[in-house]
């Protein structure tokens, strides 16, 4: 199978869909001839021109609102926020219009919009370029939220997101963008709401969110050396959430640790833990545990980043604590 980076695979998915459907257009700052700050659209401007790769002014609220209007009347916009933090200026349009227009119009208006942007705490990216924000959108009726972690899923979920008639948040963790992996040739679609088992195991279930899937896999390697078999689940979609795959794993292992670099209160881990307790309580041999980033904005100095996020060693320790329960 071909090996390609996450960002190249996502772009291939976008390019294939743009070739297939002339109603798809992309907006964002520097996504035209420049090809995007994260190379999300490199080469597409030459193929499809200005109308379909529209460089925008720094008017996040304005172009988001315009994409909602365009989506309600036949087009299929892709909003490229570059850093997802820049989405916050457009939040009202997303929450009050994008998410609600289908419901308010009793399904007579459709809302095929993909909102993409990079998430995650990067080295010294500091407070305004490090957000995750996925729980905001998990909380709102009307959104799908996907966070692929492999190049193959990046391509497959991008294509599915573009074909969806609902708004889909396509969140790309910065640490994942340059990582390479196998990507199937030809048409490759990954369904919304279907988790992947990234590694099979029998002693403990680790659910990782975005980049934390990679960290959990590294921790699982470490644990294996001590004879502990960890199963690692990559939800891929946070909304809809494939809780059945998590429950089936917990049925087998009896123990669950959710690892998310985002904040703990009201986060993805809180939701997963609650659903497992509601539906899988009898399978649990220990309380569900979560491991999150510290509850503070992201800092600049490497020294301040030291204890900020879950790492393979802290995940290993959390698993040991969980097994000792």
């Amino acid at each position: 199978m071909r090996e390609m980076t996450f960002v190249d695979a996502a772009r291939e998915g976008l390019a294939e869909e743009m070739a297939r459907d002339a109603s798809i257009f992309v907006v964002g700052e520097g996504i035209g001839a420049r090809g995007g700050n994260f190379n999300t659209t490199v080469g597409l401007y030459d193929l499809y021109g200005e109308q379909r790769l529209r460089d925008t002014p720094i008017s996040e609220r304005g172009f988001t609102s315009m994409c909602v209007g365009a989506a309600a009347t036949g087009a299929r916009p892709v909003i490229d926020f570059m850093f997802i933090d820049f989405m916050t200026d457009a939040f009202g349009e997303m929450f009050n219009q994008m998410a609600k227009l289908q419901w308010m119009s009793s399904g007579r208006l459709k809302m095929p919009v993909v909102v993409r942007g990079c998430v995650g705490v990067g080295p010294s990216n500091a407070a305004h370029h490090s957000g995750n924000y996925s729980p905001f959108f998990m909380h709102i009726p009307g959104f799908h939220v996907v966070m692929p972690t492999t190049p193959a899923d990046a391509k497959g979920l991008m294509k599915t997101a573009i074909r969806s008639d609902d708004p889909v948040l396509f969140l790309e963790h910065k640490n994942l963008l340059p990582l390479k992996g196998p990507v199937p040739d030809g048409e490759h679609l990954v369904p919304l709401g279907k988790a992947a088992i990234a590694r099979e195991g029998k002693d403990v279930t680790l659910v990782g969110i975005a980049f934390m899937v990679k960290q959990a896999l590294a921790a699982a390697d470490q644990l294996a050396k001590d004879g502990i078999s960890a199963e690692v689940i990559d939800p891929r979609s946070l909304a809809p959430l494939d809780i059945d795959t998590v429950l089936a794993s917990v049925h087998k292992t009896g123990r669950l640790l959710v690892v998310d670099e985002d904040f703990a209160p009201c986060g993805a881990a809180a939701e997963i833990a609650t659903q497992v307790m509601e539906r899988g309580f009898d399978d649990l041999d220990a309380p569900v545990k979560r491991l999150n980033g510290l509850f503070c904005p992201a800092p600049y100095s490497p020294a301040l980043m030291q204890n900020l996020l879950p790492t393979p060693p802290t995940i290993v320790q959390a698993v040991r604590d969980l097994l000792a329960e």
Binding site: S59, G62, M66, A70
Partner: protein
């Protein structure tokens, strides 16, 4: 003046009158229903501003999308939503244009290009610009229209969306209904320049001020704005100076921010009465003809109330339908 009326023609003039009366008589029924305690939520009337929606929408086709405000009954009716669907929606019935999901502030009928009234001030401006973007992208002969008040003109989205629409030559008309108050905050106290249309100069599109209580003036100015948009010449900002006669919202205290004299003066400039007098004085139609139209419209509005009151409520279990495109 008589020449202007002649140019528009009797049939169109009477259609304009009928439309304004339809808004007025329908809303009078809504006001009565509200006073009788039959309305569940908030209601903002358009009484006094009917000439604006009427004069603009007279130029629109069914497929031209209109995005409206919290004060949207007039836009909806002018776009072809029926009094039955309006009143039933306000009474929370399944026969309402939003099936009872929205009430006065969330009316939808995309089948006739009425893309929604709104509980949030401002979004209509960006949404109309976006629909114009899709029209251009998909090569559809379609003009987007946003109605909004002076209040929305001080919102960031006004500036962002108008700037982009002008930069990209989008087929859209921005209609500012300047009724002098954003809820109860006087425009005079929150803006140095009193003509919203003057802002068009900053963004390189035509800005036109028109008497929003003169349906003929609105009709003519909107005709040029819609023509420009359709011809690919880009957007226009059309400011219609008008006045809201009733309180911001039914049942709301309407004092402390404007005077009784001011209200009385604007009542004296009622767009419907002024137009009726003009039509009769110029000999276009007789008083009897106008009375006949009014009687028909009144009967339709009254029948709409009966229809709505006799309509069923929506099914409670249907509340979670259509959150997503696929259930």
């Amino acid at each position: 003046m008589a020449d202007t009326l002649e140019m528009i023609g009797k049939e169109k003039l009477l259609a304009l009158l009928r439309n304004m009366l339809t808004i007025r008589r329908t809303e009078e029924q809504v006001v009565k229903l509200y006073a009788a305690g039959k309305v569940y939520g908030g209601v903002h009337t358009y009484i006094g501003e009917e000439a604006v929606a009427t004069g603009v929408c007279a130029h629109l086709r069914k497929e031209d999308p209109v995005f409206s405000t919290h004060r949207g009954h007039g836009h909806a009716l002018s776009k072809g939503v029926t009094p039955r669907e309006i009143i039933a929606e306000i009474l929370g019935r399944v026969t309402g244009c939003s099936g009872g999901r929205g009430g006065s502030m969330h009316m939808f009928k995309p089948e006739v290009g009425f893309m929604g009234s709104s509980g949030i001030v401002g979004p209509c401006i960006g949404l109309a610009a976006g629909t114009a973007y899709s029209a251009k992208l998909l090569k559809l002969d379609r003009v987007g229209v946003a109605f909004f008040g002076d209040g929305a003109s001080n919102n960031g989205l006004f500036h962002e969306a108008i700037n982009m629409s002008s930069a990209w030559g989008l087929p859209v008309v921005f209609v500012c209904e300047n009724n002098m108050y954003a809820t109860e905050v006087p425009f005079a106290k929150v803006a140095k320049v009193q003509d919203v249309a003057a802002r068009a100069q900053s963004y390189g599109l035509p800005g036109v001020v028109v008497d929003g209580n003169d349906v003929v003036a609105v009709y003519q100015a909107a005709g040029e704005a819609v023509r420009r948009a359709r011809a690919g010449e880009g957007p226009t900002l059309l400011e219609c100076k008008t006045y809201r006669i009733r309180a911001h919202s039914e049942g709301m205290r309407d004092a402390g921010y404007r005077t009784a004299d001011e209200i009385a003066a604007w009542k004296g400039r009622d767009p419907i009465k002024a137009f009726q007098a003009r039509v009769v004085d110029s000999g276009v139609a007789s008083q009897a003809e106008l009375e006949q139209i009014d009687a028909e419209v009144k009967a339709t509005a009254e029948e709409a109330v009966t229809f709505a009151l006799n309509s069923p409520m929506p099914e409670p279990a249907s509340v979670t339908a259509h959150v997503y495109s696929v259930e």
